[in-house]
Subunit: 334 residues, 2 copies
């Protein structure tokens, strides 16, 4: 499809010399894939390009070595004024560039192009191409390259495919469309290395991650009356697996929306003493973001995946979550 | 692509009145999807068609109700002479029609069309279309319908897609090709209900299945020197979960080829007192069928997935498997 923004974005790229690309915090395959495919494209055009991440980047996301990504810890000290153009990909708002939610003021003369698929994007760019009908931002990048009639070499095809595989849950999530599969077929023909990407994303877990999944399954309970599953892991238990528990494939995603007869699943983890992190996953489309919001400030998310974090002694916090979940679940039933 | 067998198969269908379709034992989505998509096609042509399974069929595989599949327990008493044509799909050899490995003699006058993607197919048909380059037999059915310039209504598209999703591991296995994605895109446009299929295959586990997975992970060990993971479950432990342990998504498939730093994984389960069932999954392409074959009569399979079953007291049997695995692993290293 042809985006009406294509021409304007092309104009800004053509007129720029120094271009900045970024990853969002906790970079995932779509964040890295979108920025890196654009990086190779812009380099080919002869531009000066930098890709910056204000958070650590897992090596599973880096196919070409050495990686062109610069990791810079403190976004507040970063000099945006060096660039003519900033292309922000897969990032809903500037506050999500860094894990520390630093507010950012861009220089007035900096042109900004925002390319994203999150419906909640704040559209902070000079030009905003936000298409929430796409399963991945990388899919939008592909369409732009086609709009501009550009060739897509193997490394770019691989990064675009990696973004699509990441955000579509390996093609399993509902947002994966007929057009997605068409694009994936074309990328595969262009030499995108699907098997390598799949291997890195699904066959590359530390042994500790599986042992942590075992703990989750051991603690998992089912509330058949209110139709949800849940687990709760306290700080002492969590500590043993802390190195693995933030793995890219979390146990919550693997297990909590998969049980017959339930509407949703809740993962509760005391990741910091006295603070409970709550992850919610819907199985049947019941809106779990309502439960997350009811848990207090900072709770929210999407219909299918939401979360919250709050301060309260562990046992009490777990009781509170179950109480809210049961109330919301009954409200839905009545 | 155009199969050279297309025209001959079409001729046999045209000249037949009564046609038989079958599922293989332990029917999976590709077996059901291939047979049922053909069923709706042949009905539309005005043929008398029967679909028979000599094993129970999981309701997750049945999208249209009532199901046209007849379940018949004893294949040895089945009268094949009632039919003019038998189209066998996704079945390597007649012995695999029933879980009891009954030898079958077909009537001489029965015409047989074999359509399959297993490289080890015995080609027992009058016409044999065996394309091992396809991730699923359902993909071959799609190509045939295109060769014959047939319309594919929604229910047929859904069954074909279900077969492809099943045998490609939800598009994750290496055999999934650019052509596969192209076909999937076309099937989605034809109304195939991808999300419903995914939901049934991946979000529909009994709670007991997850608890069984928990047991597997709790027992799972890693042999870092010889680079494999393994678990062993004795009959007393297995008994508690027997209802769930033969679920379509087995724990072996989910976990045993996923650990960083290993070449393969071994699942050992004493499913019957004194008998050890061994499942092997390769992570890096090391040929696990060699280990399966070394375990004795009946052991075998493919490079990435193999199995064996033998009679021996539990502790001794587990020791034997580990010994063979270590030997084969060292042989590979040296």
């Amino acid at each position: 499809m042809n985006y009406k923004e294509s021409k304007k974005i092309w104009g800004l790229i053509r007129d720029s010399k120094r271009i900045l690309l970024t990853l969002h915090s906790s970079p995932d395959p779509d964040s890295a894939g979108s920025a890196l495919s654009l990086y190779y494209f812009l380099k080919k055009l002869g531009k000066e390009v930098e890709v910056v991440s204000f958070d650590n980047v897992h090596e599973n996301l880096l196919f070409a070595k050495p990686s062109p990504i610069k990791v810079i810890e403190d976004v507040s000290k970063f000099d945006f004024s060096k660039y003519d153009l900033y292309i922000s990909t897969d990032t809903q708002q500037p506050g999500l560039l860094s894990p520390f939610r630093v507010e950012i003021k861009f220089p007035k003369k900096l042109k900004i192009v925002v390319i994203d698929h999150h419906p909640t994007n704040l559209k902070f760019g000079t030009i905003n191409l936000v298409d929430s009908g796409r399963v991945a931002t990388a899919e939008i990048i592909y369409e732009l390259l086609k709009n501009w009639e550009m060739e897509i070499p193997k490394i770019m095809a691989t990064y675009i495919l990696s973004g699509i595989i990441g955000d579509s849950g390996g093609f399993r999530f509902p947002g994966t469309s007929a057009r997605t599969f068409e694009i994936v077929s074309e990328l595969t023909k262009l030499g995108a290395d699907k098997d390598m990407i799949m291997f890195r994303q699904y066959n590359n877990n530390d042994f500790g991650v599986l042992k942590y999944w075992g703990l989750i399954l051991r603690k998992m309970k089912i509330d058949r009356k209110n139709k949800f599953t849940y687990y709760a892991i306290n700080y002492e238990e969590f500590k043993k697996y802390a190195d693995y528990a933030s793995s890219s494939t979390s146990g919550t995603d693997v297990f909590m929306n998969s049980v017959l007869g339930t509407n949703f699943g809740i993962g509760m983890t005391e990741k910091k003493k006295g603070w409970l992190s709550v992850s919610l996953r819907s199985r049947t489309g019941i809106d779990v973001s309502k439960i997350a919001r009811a848990l207090g400030v900072g709770g929210g998310g999407h219909v299918f995946a939401a979360g919250a974090k709050f301060k309260m002694p562990y046992e009490e916090a777990v009781e509170k979550v179950l109480l809210v979940a049961r109330e919301m679940s009954n409200a839905k039933n009545s």
